[in-house]
Symmetry: C2
Subunit: 436 residues, 2 copies
């Protein structure tokens, strides 16, 4: 007698359709691995009329999610509706009814994860959220299981495909930010309102989730520093290349003693680091552990089938737990509940990094000496200097990279420098990462 795991899907959009397709395409194969059939019993969505390009028995469609939440036959609920409400309520209700949950909802998990994890722990059900970070990239299970023998020291991630697509276009095709954004919107890589992706919110949600798992800490999502990519110009792209760097929107989490250095910002990464070569909508996450050294995971960070691959992977994992009775095999947050701590987030002003400073100055002798004097007074030592030959209306670009300095000192120095009459326009700076 073949065993069956019964699943209900809430949210029949792009990813939901991918889940249905994946189960249809690979269901037989999955059964050969799992030893049980995954049966999709119900799909709930407000819109059950639109043709999604996938064949579904109409009798399994419903507009009422309660039919899934309250169905005693359903073992696992897949939540793919997105947003905070009513996704949160549906998930909590499902847990209360003894169902395991699979979700791709990073915003929800970053904001309400603790409540959801604790509810699942209390009820002894599983919560799978592999699809919430990095699409098909297996970063969540990898941190929780494969790398569990390591103290994890840092995570660097290109986790937003929209921003990476735009930066790649700017770098490879010499396009300005606005043109690259328009192209991305035309191709469906960016939303009509792209703020969430290009200003770093999405990356912040994802790195907060990864930091929770890697370091066993709560991360108040609103305290994660974010900086977007909209201020980056072709000059910056050009200078980065000259210095041997590429600019990527990087989500960073590092353990610094007892505090957590967590932030999202465009970063200049050395071309020697393979993560600098990850282009287009592809995502990559680099994890440094004290035994494994550096490991990098690369793959499709979004899209219907790649994200569905992670969703169905979670359903299979939970099915194995249900079939063998090991529901609490791995703690939802990687650490046992009693070992989750609250690490303070390092204030941005206290982080240390190397920096790229791009000035627009008047073309006059003594400019460099004035600027370098102020940098020196602020304990910032200079790594290299490039001055572009041709003049522009907005002044001559002058670029300085620094050795490791404290962010506060950089900000103070630039505030002072920007008051000088030799400065033609507000100075822009980026942080550099050499290591991985």
């Amino acid at each position: 007698m073949p065993k069956t795991i019964t699943v209900g899907l809430i949210g029949f959009g792009t990813i939901g359709t991918g889940v249905v397709k994946t189960l249809q395409m690979n269901g037989e194969l999955i059964t050969k691995r799992l030893g049980a059939e995954i049966r999709l019993k119900k799909i709930a969505d407000l819109d059950i009329e639109t043709d999604r390009g996938v064949k579904v028995d109409p009798s399994i469609l419903t507009t009422n999610a309660e039919e899934i939440l309250n169905d005693p036959e359903i073992d696992v609920i897949i939540e793919l509706m997105g947003g905070y409400h009513p996704a949160r309520e549906f998930i909590l209700k499902g847990i209360e009814n003894g169902k395991s949950i699979v979700t791709a909802n990073k915003a929800l998990m970053a904001k309400h994860g603790e409540e959801i994890f604790e509810a699942a722990e209390a009820k002894g059900v599983s919560i799978g959220f592999e699809a919430s970070v990095g699409g098909a990239i297996p970063v969540i299970r990898t941190i929780k299981e494969d790398f569990a023998a390591n103290e994890i020291l840092s995570i660097f991630g290109i986790v937003n495909g929209t921003a990476n697509y735009i930066l790649s276009k700017m770098s490879d095709q010499g396009e300005d930010f606005q043109d690259a954004l328009k192209e991305a919107q035309r191709l469906g890589f960016a939303e009509a309102d792209p703020t969430f992706d290009i200003e770093g919110h999405d990356s912040a949600h994802k790195i907060a989730l990864l930091a929770t798992l890697a370091f066993g800490t709560r991360v108040p999502i609103d305290d994660v520093y974010m900086e977007g990519i909209s201020k980056i110009t072709q000059d910056d792209i050009h200078f980065a290349k000259q210095f041997g760097y590429r600019i990527k929107l990087l989500a960073i989490a590092k353990q610094c003693g007892d505090s957590l250095d967590i932030r999202v910002h465009p970063t200049m990464i050395s071309v020697d680091n393979p993560i600098s070569n990850i282009n287009g909508a592809t995502n990559a996450i680099e994890i440094l552990g004290n035994a494994m050294e550096t490991s990098m995971l690369v793959g499709e960070g979004a899209g219907s089938l790649p994200t569905a691959s992670a969703v169905v992977g979670d359903v299979i994992e939970i099915s194995r737990n249900i079939l063998t009775g090991g529901q609490n095999r791995v703690p939802a947050r990687s650490f046992l509940k009693e070992n989750i701590r609250t690490m303070p987030i390092k204030p941005m002003e206290e982080i240390e990094s190397e920096y790229y400073l791009r000035f627009y100055v008047v073309d006059r002798p003594g400019v460099l000496s004035k600027i370098s004097g102020i940098l020196g007074n602020n304990n910032i030592s200079i790594g290299s200097v490039i001055q572009k030959e041709q003049k522009e209306n907005s002044g001559v670009p002058l670029v300085i990279t620094t050795h490791t300095a404290m962010e506060r000192n950089i900000r103070n120095a630039l505030a002072e420098i920007d008051k000088l009459d030799i400065i033609k326009k507000e100075t822009f700076y980026l942080r550099l990462e050499k290591e991985g």
Copy 2:
């Protein structure tokens, strides 16, 4: 009362020492994740005198592996002695005594895996072998679990750090094969007898294991085609660059209908493919699935602590299974025993690929026409041609890349061409991979 998982280690060499260090360094952290202590009760090695640079209570050392195999308290045995005998007998005895096994022994698992897997399945114990392929790279668990929703279509791996180190040296520093090999030996990246690494045996073991898991098939290890890197010259490296390729020792496994295309050989890979940028002793494995698309895993493929990271990761995984009673949660070979099949291996002569052909010819008109005529007669169409200007004693290098052709046709054409008096030395060829 804290729970304890009791472990015995057989083989106190480089990796064994790494395991002891990892448990000492991260034991407390592991307990916070696992909810149990991993206790190393015994270490067996023929040499228990040498100082390994790690502090161990002398009373846990023994020269008699039986003390571990027969200790009723021991839950998990870590086998790190390597080789076929007595590693095989020890593992089978351990299984018979109801112990789960963790091993890094790829040669043993590639040759005697089926026997060991079946013994473990029959006894209901777990067998962890994550460390046997790609060191710290979590490729085995990823194929078995994270990517379980996919039909896996192909695997491309740089899975031998020695060969990759040598090829990187040849490419980046213009060194000849012999010099690069000597340098690798001096730095400990290559053995005194490097055959196993540079001729592809090690890569063949690893790709055979991965193919078993990915495709659910038995792979008779002696039938895997192998070709090493010792014939590659600076001319080849140079031409590869001109065509926009890099040369890597690639382990390849593809599902071709009902047959398995599995082989190890130096391959020219387009620089647009991120795997071509993986240099030095680093390993990388690219997996293509029908839902996830391409995923690449990169990391340290060898070394004491990185390999130990995977070994201890397996111990943690098995401990979770023991603690929650889910010992048979995931089939050892990824597919249920009854679904393991025997796919025939595609004969090398029948594979299809693009090719790089490097001739040394006399400098005389009509040479290209003769060669291209024979290629055409063998159904091989030409992609591009480069002829090096300067003459050498051994003739003028002439390089041709082809469109997709059948290996048999290439071999036949070259056999015919090499008989011509315009050919100064045996023609060399490499296969090209454009996609991932």
